[in-house]
Symmetry: C2
Subunit: 179 residues, 2 copies
DNA sequence: CACACCTTGTTAGCATACTAACATAAATCA
DNA sequence: TGATTTATGTTAGTATGCTAACAAGGTGTG
């Protein structure tokens, strides 16, 4: 967290403190003062809509919106992920389930608690390791998993539908490479 | 996030596969024990790690983690987006700012309130339209915007660093096409 | 065996992100 | 003009997603 201030010296922008109003320092960032090369413009221009973080956030929002319309039983994307992974594993500890679905311990606790409240998971303590909480899908709800898989495929296809088949493959490959 | 996977966890889950009742059906869905045709497998197989929603969530998490390490003044990604967009616009209404940064009215209210608490934005009511709240960056903080741009570039580059230059361009293009 | 360390889980607190219900002000149209 | 509709903003409630501090159960090493 202390790493935040060490980079401010690397830009000459600090010297332009004499900026009066909020609107006219746009010209400073966009490279006003000297014979501006294309490189300068590229470095100083910052378009929020072109940044990977912003685009990821937008794409996630769109996906979540599609998700809520299609998924059965009012499951959220994370609840869905936990259930699907749990079905794949048979059963596992709460922390492990979180690890395998990219949720930290605090998040997975809440997700498991809400799934338990819906009766979609069983929660019991591990007799062999008293620290552990073992999560599993009760037998009477095992049949929902194929439904989840089907809905999941539909949601993924819908989310990716603006892209061609080749583009879809490409996007998935690049996203995997990113993590 | 859960950076390391301990083998004790894997073993713990696998070894406790000496099936209580719930695990019997698992073999149906995962198709382990019978003469499953290729079509069956393809239809029933659902790999969480291959789904676009899951990959988007993971990528967003990685980006956010990088963001927090680099961005100045403890800004969150959404606070950062609001500030940068506000600098671009000069000033605008609270709802409009939310619209232009992909935040709904409830979210942008909280973001603006926290930025106001830090003194990074001014909030005043519009005399010409009494419904509106006008947000702007105070003159004494105008110089932070170039720093934000520089940090933003650093964060984007770092986030995209697992990809080649061509792959980076491709990913941004595909993500834009998705929204 | 004792002790340090590691892992698991809980709790509290903060920040998005969304919905729904509500109040007020502005715009539109009959 | 008056009534309806639309736009802006607020509040309450729920669900991730993260940090930090804490407790308690295992592990490993000297």
């Amino acid at each position: 967290m202390g790493a935040t201030t060490r980079r401010s010296d690397r830009l000459g922008c600090k010297s332009s403190l004499e900026r009066p109003s909020a609107t006219d320092q746009l010209q400073v960032w966009t490279g006003r003062k000297r014979s501006t090369t294309a490189l300068d413009v590229k470095e100083s221009r910052y378009m929020l809509e072109d940044q990977v973080g912003y685009l990821l956030r937008q794409a996630s929002q769109r996906h979540t919106a599609l998700f809520q319309k299609i998924v059965p039983m009012d499951l959220t994307p994370t609840q869905f992920a936990a259930l699907v992974k749990l079905a794949e594993l048979g059963e596992c500890s709460q922390n492990d389930l979180g690890r395998r679905t990219s949720m930290d311990v605090a998040t997975i606790k809440g997700v498991v608690e809400r799934l338990r409240a819906k009766g979609l998971v069983d929660v019991r303590s591990d007799p062999k390791d008293k620290r552990r909480t073992i999560i599993s899908i009760p037998a009477e709800h095992a049949q929902i998993v194929p439904e989840l898989h089907a809905a999941g495929h539909t949601i993924s296809n819908l989310t990716l539908s603006p892209l061609s088949s080749a583009e879809q493959k490409s996007l998935l490959r690049l996203l995997k490479k990113l993590s």
